[in-house]
Point group: C2
Amino acid sequence: MGKQKLTIRDIAKMARVSHMTVSRALNDDPRVREETRKRILELVNKLDYRPDARARIFSSKKSHLIGLVVSSISNPFYAELARGIEDKAHEQEYNVIFCSTENKSERTETYVHLMMDAGVDGFIFASSRLHEPVVEKLIDEHFPLVLVNRKLRGETCNYVVLNNVQGAYEITEHLINLGFEKIAIITGTSNLSTGIDRLKGYQLALRDYRMEFNENYVIQGPFTRETGYEGTKQLLTMKKRPEAIFGGNDYIAMGVIDAVEELGLHIPEDIALVGFDDNEFASNQRIRLTTVSQRKYEMGNMSVQILIDHIERKETDYTHRVILEPRLIIRESCGEKLWEKRKNKQPPGSEIEAFGSLDRM
Amino acid sequence: MGKQKLTIRDIAKMARVSHMTVSRALNDDPRVREETRKRILELVNKLDYRPDARARIFSSKKSHLIGLVVSSISNPFYAELARGIEDKAHEQEYNVIFCSTENKSERTETYVHLMMDAGVDGFIFASSRLHEPVVEKLIDEHFPLVLVNRKLRGETCNYVVLNNVQGAYEITEHLINLGFEKIAIITGTSNLSTGIDRLKGYQLALRDYRMEFNENYVIQGPFTRETGYEGTKQLLTMKKRPEAIFGGNDYIAMGVIDAVEELGLHIPEDIALVGFDDNEFASNQRIRLTTVSQRKYEMGNMSVQILIDHIERKETDYTHRVILEPRLIIRESCGEKLWEKRKNKQPPGSEIEAFGSLDRM
DNA sequence: CAGGGGAATGTTACCGGTAACATTAAAATA
DNA sequence: TATTTTAATGTTACCGGTAACATTCCCCTG
């Protein structure tokens, strides 16, 4: 059939102008006369001409493509982040290529190359490994990129992270303000900065409020439901049983619920509970969990914005650092309704050392 | 700096050959002498030359880019599907561009255009609307594409779907084989083909096993935890209380658990439960749910394979239809351990009308 | 009315690869 | 040895846009 794809020169011929005039008309160049433009656009519409994207990319040296590298797209954290990235990107006529590395370094390398081949204008990395040669190489070449929720050791780079110390501090403070004195924490392993930072925030809050820090009230393990379950069983068999539990993330908090219910106790009447992350199920459970929002969607938004700025301004340095402040999501798992305004302590002064161990992320 | 990006002609000059020889060497053309190739590749390595992706895409007319359109990336179903798609695509050196439409038609249109501009070689649509003008237009133009888990009314097109009727049939059969006679179903609204099909499978199984169909045992509502919760409360207050509940998806099954526990009953001792989907949390709960796998990851795999075939063979017709058979995931929520081999009925004949209402997907 | 200036449009080159055809040199054959 | 064949490499054009510079034409001004 006559499916011989139309080019800008075909249109030009039919409109009896040069191909440049057509190009200009299509790009809203103010130099073309209104009448000419109209004539051209009519033809373009009638023939349903669409400029060849590949040619355009090639000559303009811009793909409007962003590469997103996450460690696992099935992890709801990254899914939500991806949504934030994608929405913001599309808003500005950028497209997102993505891949998930499943935390394998060689996959990261393959994918980065694939994406370079696809011609991405920049990268967003939200995978979690510390030392990543490919990424470091990109940084050396000043290729536009942004790190989300992580930081490479020693490298200066654009990044967007959540202040985990602050978040843990505030949620602990929330418990303190409700009048709880025996507060336990069950949190993630000590080789993840998130775990470390949340524990740190918890400790700082206790310190600032001059509360006793009881080592037996700290339980660590992987960030899983199991950990919450086992940890809670352990805590609840202590003679000096805690009144409140801070689950290092919402999965752990789920495990806490399991154990508490199994022991025939109730949340929040018998024991208060907070989580961290604000996962979808945190609001969706019978027990509506008080937790800290990781603001994943916004992190996505911001990282894209930074990246696009970087790309379009052709900046050569990485100067954008965003530390998002956490946001408490107060629901009912601490008996907020029961205890409201029971006490409302003020911290006796002291500044928190927020965002302390960032460079271990 | 001398950061003047290297071209193939620069390499050529330094290797004292023509740029075509370099191009050939890089593309494993057997015509270049081994010695020459080595000399060129050494230079390429030393100078870290990478061919300009955009130029290559432009001249070869292939982007190796696949556009994936889902309705919501935060939905774990699509996340898992995306993973399947992505893995398979990368395996064959293809990249995936994605976007989620949040079920808005105008977004679909925008995104499809954006992706066309990015130069995708083909599309995978996993969004759920029935009538989508942009998609229909692509089909008219015989543009390579595959539909996943849906089918456009009246259009012939490549697709990959799960046999929901069969899945529901089998899981109902599972309950029947365990000896349950009063089996209720709580499932999704009747305007979703998945809901319809699962109900149909349930009915067919009852019919084939000559079991009574009790209308009061059918509860419909949105595919949410709420529906499961409310439905169960309703069911369990009936005088002729069901012994088993079939939750139309795992979210509904979660709600069933909530209600059952609230009433002080236990699963599976007092009531058996099955779900559908095999969501992550289905295995992760205290109550390990017996359910039906939607084989999301495999659906992703297959759809990519079909698409790439379509692209590379330059087929002009849509002839690939894949109907995946469901897979039962037997855990313990029906007391499988307790009841094993209690009875093991055989259906008294009759063929199931599998995959009945596909064209309403 | 010559010449300057700006608006509208045209010409040409170029981006960095690949494809098609051309050329050279060495090996095989007559 | 002349001639054909073939392997290895080279030349040129082209893909379909955009950028830079050139040209026309008309109007305005001194």
